[in-house]
């Protein structure tokens, strides 16, 4: 039986010398022979691998070989015969396509798993981890965030204090405000000491930071018609503090940043996917958190015997019409939804306990009166 032979170009992986060699397709291996007959190598068929090369060259190497020795064959009939003998070489590309399909399948699976963990795993983890964060750590984050926020929000002249309640005609209002907060704090029974401030901002808004910092804007007090409405908003914010929502949002944001920012995304256009995914998931999470804080607020108001429906009413009045844009991107549920949920939890109250007497409420309305906004 004659052994098939042919010619090839050989690089030994040690020097750049081109060698024209004769190949023998022996039964046990591919024998590489120099022109003078000296055997340069015997490559076992099971260890042969096919490498990328221009179309007219069939380039092979030996798997697990220390040096990158290469054989380059231009005789395509010879290439075909080697292909038949070597189990790992498939020039039709069928096995490469099969491998690639497997890769694509796994990659799709990984992408789906990552989206699922972003949607369900990250919020769950944030909820479980937030209570485990030491109070001192949360306090430090709160202090840092508080300092940054103050410089961001305080746009007034330098000689005007940002906090209300410090000027001489504001002190009566401050006393009333403190009495209101004290009542709420006692009813809420939160272990974190609260630091509630009224600040000179015209918007009707209030928010809580990690570590018990709560801000009430002057605009909110201007719009409130009675002490219960203001109290209900503060009770809601105390709910955020009690649930440690600042910490949870932080953990959730960090988790999403890791998943979306680092694992995915480094391709053209990927930034948009990351932004949209984050925005939708974070707003959904935030809406859930708001409902929980509403529930907490209602319980506090009920415990005080005050008007628990005041929050819903107040929200509906100040929110105006449904905001434009996409509701899946809103971080708060609409006022109507919230009012409906609150009304379902709280029985209607014809006459609640007054948290502040009329004189105190009138003083509180003037808590920011010392400076014109």
């Amino acid at each position: 039986m004659s052994v098939r032979t042919g010619t090839a170009r050989y690089f030994d992986g040690l020097t750049s010398a081109r060698r024209d060699v004769t190949l023998e397709l022996a039964a046990h291996a591919l024998v590489i022979r120099q022109a003078d007959g000296i055997i340069l190598g015997e490559w076992s068929y099971i260890r042969l691998k096919h490498l990328s090369a221009p179309d007219h060259i069939f380039r092979i190497a030996l798997r697990k070989n220390a040096a990158p020795a290469r054989l380059e064959i231009t005789d395509m009939d010879l290439a075909h015969e080697i292909d038949l003998l070597a189990p790992d070489i498939d020039r039709t590309g069928a096995s490469a396509r099969r491998d690639r399909r497997r890769v694509i399948g796994w990659a799709c699976f990984a992408a789906v798993m990552m989206v699922l963990s972003a949607a369900y795993g990250v919020p769950l983890l944030a909820d479980r981890l937030a209570p485990l964060v030491p109070r001192g750590f949360e306090q430090r984050i709160g202090v840092a965030a508080n300092a940054q926020l103050r410089t961001m929000l305080d746009k007034g002249p330098a000689d005007r204090p940002f906090d209300c309640g410090e000027g001489p005609i504001e002190q009566a209002g401050q006393a009333a405000f403190e009495r209101l907060v004290r009542q709420l704090e006692t009813a809420a029974n939160v272990r974190i000491p609260l630091e509630v401030s009224v600040v000179r901002r015209a918007e009707a808004n209030a928010f809580a930071l990690p570590g018990g910092f709560i801000y009430v804007f002057q605009g909110l007090i201007d719009k409130a018609e009675n002490a219960d409405e203001l109290a209900a908003v503060i009770a809601h914010e105390i709910g955020h503090v009690a649930h440690r929502d600042g910490m949870r949002a932080l953990l959730q944001g960090a988790g999403l940043s890791f998943l979306f920012g680092m694992m995915l995304g480094d391709f053209v256009g990927g930034g948009a996917v990351v932004l949209a995914g984050r925005a939708i998931l974070q707003s959904a999470y935030s809406r859930r958190v708001e409902h929980a804080a509403d529930r907490f607020g209602v319980e506090v108001m009920l415990a005080l015997g005050a008007d628990a429906r005041a929050l819903g009413r107040f929200l509906e009045r100040i929110s105006g019409d449904t905001p434009g844009g996409f509701s899946v991107l809103l971080d708060h549920p609409t006022a109507q939804e919230r009012a409906a949920a609150i009304n379902a939890m709280a029985p209607p109250q014809s006459r609640g306990v007054t948290l502040l007497d009329p004189a105190e409420w009138a003083a509180l309305k003037r808590i920011c009166a010392a400076y014109r906004t």
Binding site: F11, D12, G13, L14, T15, S16, A17, R18, L51, S52, A53, P54, D55, I57, R59, A67, P68, A69, R70, R100, V103, I104, A107, C108, A110, A111, M114, V115, F137, R140, I141, A144, A145, A147, Q148, A254, F258, M262, M263, L264, G265, D266, F267, V268, G269, G270, A272, V273, A276, I280, F326, S327, V328, L329
Partner: protein, 429 residues
Amino acid sequence: MTSFDAGSLAAAPGRIDRQTGNVRFLGQDRPFWRILVRGAVLLMVTLGIYRFWLITDTRRFLWANTEIDGDSLEYSGTAMEILLGFLVAIALLVPLYIAFFVGALDLGTAGLTTGLALVALALIGQYAVWRARGYRLTRTVLRGLHFHQTGSGLHYAICVLFWWAMIVMTLGLAYPFAQASLERFKLAHTHYGDLAGRFEGSGFRLLLRGLPLWFVVMAPTFIAFSALLSIDWDRVGEIVGRGGTSDDILGRIAAGAPEFYEVIGLFVLAFGFAVSAAIVLFPAFQTIVMRWWVSGLRFAGVGVTSRLRMSDVYAAYLRFLGYLLLFALAMIVMAFITFAAIGLFFGTSAESKAAEIFTILGMVGLYVVSALGLSTIYQATAKLWVWRLTAQSSVLSGVAALDHVRAAGAPDSPVGEGLADALNVGGGV
């Protein structure tokens, strides 16, 4: 690090050409299109995870079809390898990010901490770029030998940051010297087997070639911004501060600061000219830099001369532009169909969540398709063509030295490539 290397200019022509050789590019457009289009679709489906396979396929194609003095290059890296490198890089970066976060808290969130963190990240990013280059070089095989890289990545990263600062401070005039210095650093640490690389391009010569372009772009930019300075901004600020409707404000500005509109008009005109000039001149700029860079490459006795023609590069970009217009047309039609379909299914005024989610998905989808399409077209036309033109127009001298190279250097780890990817500084090919 300084770049006054006129001495090497005098030395260069003295070399005797023992033998000349050619560089060729054998790849066709069609298979490259196939790799890129399939890759773009799979990137979308896998949210980017497919990028490791796409970049590997792209490099294999470009390397395999580039022939240097009769032998084609080979890219021996694998996608699995860079995926693993990426995972290791993530494992290294997460504690680093946590350290930054906690450190920022402990030191207070002063701007200083953020600034330091940004500089540190830029340094790590450039370090990663260096290590990724090392990975690519050791996966580049020619005639059975691979390239390799020596030298310190940190040293490189510091040099890059220094030169960036210089470029910003000199309004771009330091760019040629930065390129020359960084390329000298890179090539001095690049080896093909035991053949040491070096770079002989002169920053001063690149400056002379590029100076006309710099003037055409920077002169109108300078005019535009100095015009802005001539406006009495305090006065305009005071007028705007008085409030009122936008018509009121505009009217008051016309009365109180009459030069305002003329200056804004001049700014728009001058800056618009600068931007369009920058776009139109980009292929010229690329040609000049590419020709200068290729002609500066040396490996021991082997030299390269580039005869890249500017008109050819412009032709490549015109082709890119043609494809781009067709693609834009297709995208407009697709956007129309997408939103018409959403409107048809859910009605126009429906406030259902489903309609919103589909609208957002439609918008994000269209954006991603546009961005990926643009990048695919760019790579398959301009980039491939410039690669091919650069290869075909390069002539090698002293190629006899290529016959007696010995193997040297160990393969680099793919973690550098992964780090560059995780930090979004991955340079593609």
